[in-house]
């Protein structure tokens, strides 16, 4: 029995729930050598900025137990080059594309949204709120509901109505639910979580920070429990809002965990560095798991772990469908 894996980000249908995580799939073309990008739910771009960015000095990566620290610093070509080359490349191949945007001011996010507005091939816009707000002494937007909501509201205001605006949240905040709620009140059509919590590693040989930038974002399975918790909390508080879950997904089991917690889409990031085929493998494994538990539709398992303990899983079919 194949499983109906379709899922929805607002009113936008995705063929299946597996997407790439922002900043983990290059410009898309790199992964296309390994598999057909059209087979996954969507590709999420790196966070696009107005101007080209050279990023941070190297070393930009350090391994930690079951985790990876990175300090890439949003290296990218800038929105002009993105619209001229990267987006058309994806659009020509009919690859569903979630465009991630990053900025230092509300105005910059808004300007980016305006630039994307009439570009063909934008399936959704994901607003990376883990950028320092240069108007607030570099305080990261995502830490604060008010600052996040302001960005979301102004992006939503300029973005075409049929392109969902997704707010990408960070676990580095006192209360992710209140940030989520503020974003939804500000007009977010969906939420995406989690971006990398800030971490650090020190090289005990040189007795200096392992990353040139000092601190970096932590990703990989180490943070999966944080991701599951964030998705769970937000789903509990805002059960109607679509959630893109991410953080340490290596296998179909891991994706299933986030889906049971309440995500309707799952992004794969760091796993791609280990296995270029991670997205298609995760999708296959996920489908098998859902089928093995007797479900025919992905939609029936989203958030299923929220049922009261003791309650049986609903919609479960332990019998084969009659062939009559």
């Amino acid at each position: 029995m194949p499983v109906d894996m379709r899922t929805y980000l607002g009113h936008v249908e995705l063929a299946n729930p597996v997407v790439t995580a922002a900043g983990c799939a290059g410009s898309g073309s790199e992964l296309a050598q390994f598999f057909d990008l059209g087979r996954i739910g969507a590709v999420t771009t790196r966070s696009i900025t107005m101007a080209p960015r050279a990023g941070r000095p190297t070393p930009r990566m350090a391994e930690t137990p079951s985790g990876l620290l990175n300090a890439v610093g949003l290296q990218g070509p800038g929105v002009d080059a993105f619209l001229a080359r990267e987006l058309p490349w994806l659009a020509q191949r009919n690859v569903r594309t979630v465009v991630s945007i990053g900025g230092g001011t509300v105005a910059e996010y808004t300007a980016l949204a305006r630039r994307l507005n009439d570009a063909p091939g934008v399936t959704a816009v994901e607003v990376n709120l883990s950028c320092p707000n240069i108007e607030d002494r570099g305080r990261v937007f995502a830490r604060d509901g008010g600052a996040s909501a302001e960005v979301i509201a102004s992006v939503r205001a300029v973005m075409r109505y049929d392109v969902p605006v997704v707010a990408k949240l960070s676990p580095d905040t006192a209360d992710i639910v209140s940030v989520a709620r503020a974003c939804v009140d500000g007009g977010a059509d969906a939420l995406s979580m989690i971006n990398n919590p800030l971490g650090m590693s020190i090289d005990t040989e040189t007795m200096l920070p392992a990353l040139a930038a000092g601190t970096g974002g932590l990703s990989g399975p180490a943070i999966r429990p944080l991701a599951v918790r964030c998705v769970w909390q937000v789903r509990t508080a805002l059960p109607g809002v679509p959630i893109i879950g991410m953080g340490g997904v290596l296998t179909g089991r891991d994706a299933f965990e986030l889906i049971l917690a309440g995500a309707c889409v799952v992004a794969v990031g760091t796993a791609l560095f280990h296995d270029p085929y991670a997205c298609t493998r995760v999708l296959r494994e996920l489908e098998e798991l859902v089928a093995a538990r007797g479900y025919q539709r992905l939609a029936d398992v989203i958030g299923l772990a929220h049922r009261p303990p003791g309650a049986a899983a609903r919609h479960r079919t332990d019998f084969e469908e009659s062939s009559l």
């Binding site: 990023g55 990876l68 990218g76 950028c131 990261v140």
Partner: protein
């Protein structure tokens, strides 16, 4: 491509370990300069990232094998050093831009420092097949850390060895020996592999002699396939503009003169998109 290959043989060569792995698809596509990205730690490991190793050799046995040579550096290479024949190993490859080969039968000096030498023999083979003359300059901290001296001696016109402690060949570094060799053999080009500092020195020498140098660099890599942006270094493009370029897909082999070795580990102020260029605003 990704291959789960069987370890055919393991050997220890002085300070280095060498693993030969059955990996037909990779061997078939191999060109000199390619590297493989190897999963380490086995199932349930806490080590997330693959380790990159230059391919030392490919052989047609069992449909195709690849051999790489490595030094134990940290937990990943320590785990690899414990592999035995018949264990399986998960490789992605061949990766990277291989060494470009000259059209004409010119004279090439191969400069290898420490395990960096391993990648040069396949290049030297290819050069010789094109009628090039090949000379080797190989170095290391001490005798046990000079890789491939015997093979170099067998195949090259001349082989110069250097060690920092003087235990083998000339006391000093490959960059000390290189000018003499270039002058003696009237080299037309240099092929180099080794630590960044060595490549910087080799490039400086080649520039002085006004001959091209192809250098295989080594930056910390999280993915090896061009998607993570961690492996960048400042490289001057054809248009004269410096960009932070991925060494895994745009390298690891670069024209030495194009790499701003002095600025590796920094973002040069004049690089495209450098902070201060008006885009210092996002995370």
């Amino acid at each position: 491509m990704q291959v789960t290959g069987t370890v055919l043989t393991t050997r220890q060569v002085d300070a280095y370990h060498a693993l030969t792995v059955v990996a037909p698809g990779i061997a078939e596509r191999f060109r000199p300069g390619h590297f493989v990205a190897v999963a380490v730690g086995g199932s349930g490991t806490s080590m997330l990232t693959r380790r990159a190793f230059s391919i030392h050799d490919v052989k047609p046995d069992y449909g195709g094998t690849v051999e790489f040579v490595f030094a134990v550096n940290g937990p990943g290479t320590a785990w690899l050093a414990e592999r035995r024949a018949r264990d399986t190993l998960d490789l992605v490859g061949p990766l990277g831009r291989p060494f470009p080969l000259p059209r004409d039968p010119v004279t090439c000096v191969m400069v290898g420092d420490e395990y960096g030498s391993a990648v040069l023999f396949a290049v030297a083979d290819a050069l010789q097949r094109r009628g090039c003359r090949v000379d080797f300059v190989l170095g290391g901290a001490s005798a046990g850390r000079v890789f491939g001296a015997m093979r170099a001696r067998r195949m090259a016109e001349t082989t110069t060895l250097t060690t920092e402690d003087g235990s083998l060949g000339m006391r000093g570094r490959v960059t000390d020996a290189l000018p003499g060799v270039i002058a003696d053999v009237r080299a037309d080009a240099v092929y180099a592999s080794g630590p960044m500092e060595t490549l910087r020195g080799v490039t400086a020498v080649a520039v002085e002699f006004d001959i091209p140098v192809q250098a295989a660099v080594e930056e910390r890599m999280a993915c090896g396939i061009g998607v993570c942006m961690t492996c960048v270094l400042p490289v001057i493009g054809d248009d004269g503009i410096t960009r932070m370029v991925r060494s895994c897909v745009e390298g690891p082999v670069f024209r030495g003169e194009r790499v701003r070795f002095d600025d590796v580990g920094t973002i040069p102020f004049d690089a495209l998109g450098a902070p201060g260029g008006g885009s210092r605003n996002a995370g």
